[in-house]
Amino acid sequence: MIAKLFLTLAAALLAALLFTPESFTEVFRPLTHNNAPPIYLQTSLLRLTLSHLALVGIAVTASTLVAVAGGVLVTRPAGREFLPLARTITSVGQTFPPVAVLALAVPAMGFGAGPTLVALFLYGLLPVFENTLTALSTLPPSVLEAARGMGLTRRQRLWQVELPLALPVILAGVRLTAVISLATATIGSTVAAKTLGEVIIAGLLSANPAFVVQGGLITGLLAILIYEAFQRLESWSAHRAGLIRPQ
């Protein structure tokens, strides 16, 4: 109940910040000094948010598709040889700092949205891949045996049994990826990508805390709402997969 109220408030606050930023002028004024502007106006907050979300959305979609395909591949007989390597890469790869991955993408890609997209994509692969692997390798053996015994083909088993049952765990991986990407994308503005990081950096450069708080607040609210949306999706899919007993 309280959680629901809190989420509604978060959504309302986010909408207000994006659609009528001027109405918050007096709220942010105490954070400024020397008559600095309290609200970031160089680019509209809404446009930055949309571009931020687009960047994250594209990267997360791409990494989800590639990582799920990869997870399926290494759990098939044809790709099983890659399993030990894939496991090690995912556990070691996740220790790579996202900022360093972003910085390293710049020499290869130049400045702009490109390196940010590549870094988010690469970094986002790991959680989804790891969860896909876990989910596909821990399915109930009796269900798989029954599916084979009833004459489902490999493809039918994958699409009708394995993926639907693995979905909740895969979604948890996508949630992790989405939340990390949302935060990392702000750093993309240091390499000239259009994201909410632009507002924060403008605040850092002009020593205007109002901008820093604005950028941080919007990104934080987005993260909370996306996290929550994914959790709903997960429990819905777990319920559909018959994995959770209704209380």
Binding site: G151, L152, T153, G242
Partner: protein, 308 residues
């Protein structure tokens, strides 16, 4: 009819099943019994080609199983396993519909079949059809598992320890139901079990396996009275044997004229139960409903005769 013709399975040179031949007549139940690692499950799985035989053939009617695409073969053969293997994300009705859908039945036909089977297995379609498996009890799940295996009217049903996950009380009931339904449908049934009791209860013939070899393939009474090898004898359990034999016949067989006090027992009661009742209540004779009695002396004589 199903015929296994010199079947062998080798894993890296080691024989798990070695040169097994046997025939199960249409409408009969064959029980494969053995300890774990005896090769009984591998033998069963070679019938629907979940395991490919290294040598030998499987004939289903006049068809060589090796000549059919494995997944098409499996759609013709019912398959039920321990722990039922129901798809947790599909409702009871959808689970039963899996093979008919794969075979391209019409929806109306599938729907009618679901209701028919659920009624046969004592599950009210109005209540259970749209439930997910986890909302069912263990016994109900097991029945749905068997119903699903029978959905496409297979000529042959394979079962691998189908009652293994059930508690003993429900198991006996499930066995009785299975036997009745099998008789009614006339399906040929091959069932794997490690429980000799279950094999005797269900099998028209019992195949005893050990270390990949078929030791004996015979009707239960023959397995009990004339075990082919010491291993078979041990599996049957020498001490238990007379009592097991008693469980094969009913009181009707030993009925003699006379009168005895107490509530009459049903003529279908097994001799074993009758003996147990006599010993338990310390009585010399029991009345049988429809007239006559069965005496403790006759029961004991039958048991001793069997042990010789």
């Amino acid at each position: 009819m199903i015929r296994l013709d010199h079947l062998s399975k080798l894993y890296s040179g080691r024989a798990v099943v070695e040169d097994v031949s046997l025939t199960v007549e249409t409408g009969q139940i064959a029980a494969l019994v053995g300890t774990s690692g005896s090769g009984k499950t591998t033998l069963l799985r070679m019938i629907n080609r979940l395991v490919e035989p290294t040598k030998g053939r499987v004939w289903i009617g006049d068809t060589d199983a090796a000549k059919i695409e494995p997944h098409l073969l499996r759609r013709r053969i019912g398959y039920a396993i321990q722990g039922h293997g129901l798809f947790p994300h599909r409702t009871v009705g959808e689970n039963i519909a899996i093979v008919p859908r794969l075979l391209g039945w019409r929806e109306a036909e599938i729907s009618a079949r679901i209701d028919e089977l659920m009624q046969l297995f004592d599950l009210d379609p109005a209540v259970y059809r749209d439930r997910l498996p986890h909302a069912l009890s263990g016994g109900q799940q097991q029945r749905v598992g068997v119903a699903r295996a029978l959905a496409a009217r297979p000529e042959l049903l394979l079962m691998d320890e189908p009652f293994g996950a059930l508690d003993p009380v429900i198991r006996a009931k499930a066995q009785d139901d299975l036997r009745a339904i099998q008789r009614q449908l006339g399906t040929t049934l091959v069932i794997v079990t490690h429980d000799m009791e279950e094999a005797i209860q269900l099998g028209d013939r019992i195949a005893v396996m050990d270390k990949g070899r078929l030791l004996q393939f015979a009707p239960p009474s023959e397995i009990l009275t004339a075990p082919a090898t010491p291993f078979v004898e041990a599996l049957v359990g020498a001490a238990e044997r007379p009592f097991r034999l008693l469980s094969l016949s009913t009181v009707d067989a030993l009925r003699e004229p006379g009168e005895a006090p107490g509530t009459p027992i049903n003529p279908d009661t097994s001799l074993r139960e009758a003996l147990a009742l006599c010993l338990w209540e310390g009585r010399a004779a029991l009345p049988v409903s429809g007239g006559g009695i069965v005496t403790l002396a006759a029961l004991q004589a039958r048991a001793e005769g069997a042990s010789r």
